[in-house]
Structure formats: C-alpha cells, structure tokens
C-alpha cells in the first residue's frame, strides 16, 4: 500500500470523524431549540387554559364589560388555533403566531385594567389567585422566550460558522427565527392595589 493511499485514507477517516461529531453537535443544539420551543408553547397553553376561569370570575362582577371579555375570548381562540413547528415555517407564519399571542397579552392587559374599577372583584380571593397565576404565567412566558432565543442563537451561530456551515448545508440544517419581544409585553399585566 503506497504512502499516498494511506494518507488519503487517514484524511478521509479524520473527515468522517469530524463530520459525525459536527452532525451530532448540531442535532443536540437543534433538539435544544425544539425543547425550548415546546416549553414556550406549554406556557402559552397554560395561559390559554387560565383565561376561561378568569373571564367567568370577572363576568360575575363586571357584567357591563361584555366587550372586553369578548375580546379576550376571541384573542384566545385565535391564538390557540395556530400551532407551529418553528423548524418548518415561513417567517410570515412565525410573525403571525407572535402577533396572535401578543393579541392575547394586550387583551388580558385591558381586562385586568378594567377590573380595577370593581372593588368587589379586586377583593375576591379567586380573582386574586387567578391574577397571580396569570402574572406568573406571563413571567414564565418571558423566561421561556428568552431561553428559546438563546438556544436558537447558539444553533444559528453554529450553522453559520465555518467549517460547521459546510456540514449544516449538506445535512440540511436551517436557521431558526428569533422571537421578537411583544409590543408592550415587557410590562406584564399588573394591578396596583
């Protein structure tokens, strides 16, 4: 066996080893992004599950606020009707999903602002606890969104950096979109007493 052949085989083996380890690390990062996304979706779902209870509680005290309540329910049903897989969507679909979720955030914000006008409602234990759960969920959504963006950033920079980008294009890894901060979402709905 000539020395040339040995060198070629050696180089090929090294390339395969490098390719496998790169592929595996990309798969790990990809899975991490998917995990963070599912966590974010779970938090959105949790918020959606809280809304009917909240609406029912508010309805008992604030019957004149039918419009606001209707708005919340509509935003909720719009948001829950969209489910996406972030690895396989267009930026427009992603933006639509974000818009639907931020619609829920702002509708809830309005509902809680309306609740301010009803002292009996504000003193209601069930309302207080629902409100706490809602605030906690908003906080969790914020954390989950940050986690998703962090994982996406780590994956995207791997996909773009040399020489990983060569393997990423061969194996068909594509970059993830980032989750933009919602308009006004940095202020979680909060009622001052």
């Amino acid at each position: 066996m000539s020395k040339k052949l040995i060198a070629i085989i050696g180089a090929a083996v090294l390339l395969v080893i490098f390719g496998v380890s790169t592929y595996n690390s990309l798969v790990d990062k990809d899975e991490e992004v998917k995990l963070k996304w599912s966590n974010l979706e779970a938090q959105y779902q949790r918020r959606a599950d809280l809304i009917p209870n909240l609406v029912n509680t508010v309805k008992g005290y604030a019957q004149h606020e039918r419009e606001t309540l209707q708005e919340v329910m509509e935003a909720r049903s719009k948001a829950t009707s969209i489910t996406i897989d972030p690895s396989n969507i267009t930026p427009e679909q992603f933006a639509e999903y974000q818009k639907a979720q931020s619609g829920v955030t702002s509708a809830l914000g309005r509902l809680l602002a309306v609740a301010e006008n009803y002292p009996d409602l504000k003193a209601n234990q069930q309302f207080l606890e629902l409100q706490a759960q809602l605030e906690g969920t908003e906080n969790r959504i914020e954390v989950a969104r940050e986690d998703y963006n962090k994982a996406s950033k780590s994956f995207n920079s791997s996909v773009r950096k040399f020489p990983t980008n060569l393997f990423a294009s061969i194996f068909g890894f594509e970059m993830y979109d980032y989750y933009e901060a919602e308009e006004g979402a940095e202020i979680a709905p909060e009622v001052q007493f």
């Binding site: 234990q125 207080l128 914020e142």
Partner: protein, 300 residues
C-alpha cells in the same frame, strides 16, 4: 437673626438630604452580599438591619432545617430599596446568578422584601412550582403578609411568610445524599498524578540498570553481590552483572549512607485550646438551580 435662622434651616436640610441619600442605598444583584456563601447556616441577607437579630436567627434556623430535610435552598433578602424598583426581576436575576437550588431539581426559593419599593416577592424554582403554586404564594402574601407590612411590622410579615412557606414545602421532597462523585474523581486524579511519575521512574531505573554499556541492550543480569563496607556510617556493596547477549561482565558499587541522628520521640506540637482550630464558619454553596418565573409578586 432671621438670616441666621434661614441659614441654619438650610444647613439642616442639606445634612438631612446628605444623610438620607447616603442611607438610601439602592441594591442590585451585584452589590448584595450573599451571607449563605460565607456561612452555610445563614440565609437572610439583611444589610440594612431592617429585620431584628431575633427574626433573622429564627428565619435562619427555619430554612436550615428545611434544607437539611428537603434539600430546598432558600435566600431571603430584605432591603430598603432596589435599583429599578422591581422585586420580580431582581429576585429572578439573583436566583439565576447564584444558582439557588440544586441543578437537577431546581428547588430554589427566593423571598424578597423591599420596603421603600413596597413590594415583596416569593420566587419559586421550577421544581417547587408544584408544591408552592403561584396562587398559594399570592394567598400567603395577601393573608399573612399584607397587614403587618402595611403597619411597617416587617419582622412579623417575614416570619409569618416563612412559616407558611415552610409548612407547604415541609416533606415535599427528600434531601439528596451528599454526592461523593466529584470527590472520588478528584481522589483518583491526585492518585494518578502522584503515583504515575513514581511508577515511571522505577521502571526507568530498572531498565537503566539492565542496559549493557557494551552492546546497548537490556540484557544485563545480576550474578553476585559482595558486601565491601558495613559500619555505622556507610554500607558499600559491589554487584556483578553479566550481559546475556554479549557476555560482557561488569560490576557496580552502591554506597548507602546511614543516618546517625535518629531521635525517637521527637513528635509533638498538638494541643492548644480545645475548639480553637475550627477556623470560623464553613462556607455554604448553591447547587446551580434555575428559575422559570414562578411565584408571586405583591405590592403592599
């Protein structure tokens, strides 16, 4: 006289402003001292002495017992004012920075009270959210803390809160046994670091001894040993070797000097006051837990 009075009043105002501004230190996560990292039995960061010594001691013992039985790590922070004035973001950053709670169970707990910002926060790690849901946290804040906080009775508020929180968390989980994994790894690393050179050196000296200076092969074999001198100070021996490859013969002299300065019973030096060697409190640590935003924030 009137002018003097105005000057006097202005001076007083200036002093009050100065003292006030010097006193109202705004805390962020970088300038708050984590007492637990200095002493493992302390959990309450109370830099402005807002809580009394007795309350701090009681809280410390409550959370020490909680950690001992359940493994839940707690940080209590009581300050006058926070930079930014937001209890939630301060406690989230603090908890995540120090990794309160164990890494695989995320069972950290942060209790925060900022008196000037009039806010309080119960922040639960991901692993505690099931045992201490947001609604329960809010209930504790409304039912136990709100009244004393409004009256400025911070000791009572924090104690009531802590007792209630502990009552929910008691028995929720079992403390993890202290992991020996990292210690045993360190032991083996040290073992190899110390013994590998010794083993390598003895192998090297063995082969060096067997190398024939004539044919350069490791074929020397020991034939005989002669004792030349053996007195109180020195022992000299001569060893004869024969190379199995080239039949070359050689002899090597070995001199061993004897120590003549043995002093039996030269040890000692222990003693001193009993208990004086403890070297202060043992430092605590956090397990690297993270927070997902669970818990409840309350403005009183």
């Amino acid at each position: 006289m009137e002018r003097m009075m105005i000057l006097y009043k202005a001076l007083i105002c200036l002093v009050i402003c100065f003292v006030g501004s010097a006193h109202a230190k705004q805390y962020d996560i970088d300038n708050i001292e984590m007492v637990h990292l200095i002493d493992e039995t302390k959990y309450v960061c109370n830099p402005e002495k807002i809580l009394s010594m007795g309350t701090v001691a009681e809280l410390d013992s409550l959370f020490y017992r909680l950690e001992a039985t359940t493994g839940i790590e707690t940080v209590v922070v009581v300050v006058d004012s926070l930079r930014g004035g937001d209890c939630y973001s301060f406690s989230l950053k603090l908890g995540n920075k120090y990794g309160v709670g164990s890494e695989n169970r995320d069972n950290g707990l942060v209790l925060l009270l900022s008196t000037s910002d009039r806010c309080t926060q119960i922040l639960t790690g991901r692993g505690l959210e099931g045992y201490l849901p947001d609604a329960i946290c809010r209930r504790i804040q409304v039912q136990e803390m709100n009244e004393p906080l409004k009256n400025g009775n911070y000791d009572v508020a924090m104690l009531k809160c802590a007792k209630k929180v502990v009552s929910y968390l008691d028995g929720s989980m079992v403390a993890e046994p202290v992991k020996k994994g990292s210690d045993s790894r360190e032991f083996w690393v040290m073992f190899f670091l110390i013994f590998t050179p010794i083993i390598l050196m003895s192998i090297w000296s063995y082969y060096k001894q067997r190398k024939c200076p004539n044919c350069k092969k490791f074929k020397l074999e020991q034939k005989d040993t002669l004792l030349l001198i053996d007195d109180k100070k020195v022992r000299v021996t001569e060893t004869f070797f024969l190379c199995k490859n080239c039949q070359h013969e050689l002899s090597r002299k070995t001199t061993v000097r004897k120590r003549d300065d043995y002093h039996i019973g030269g040890y000692g030096g222990y003693g001193g006051r009993p208990g004086s060697f403890s070297g202060g409190p043992s430092r605590g640590s956090f397990g690297g837990g993270s927070f997902g935003g669970g818990g409840s924030s309350w403005k009183f």
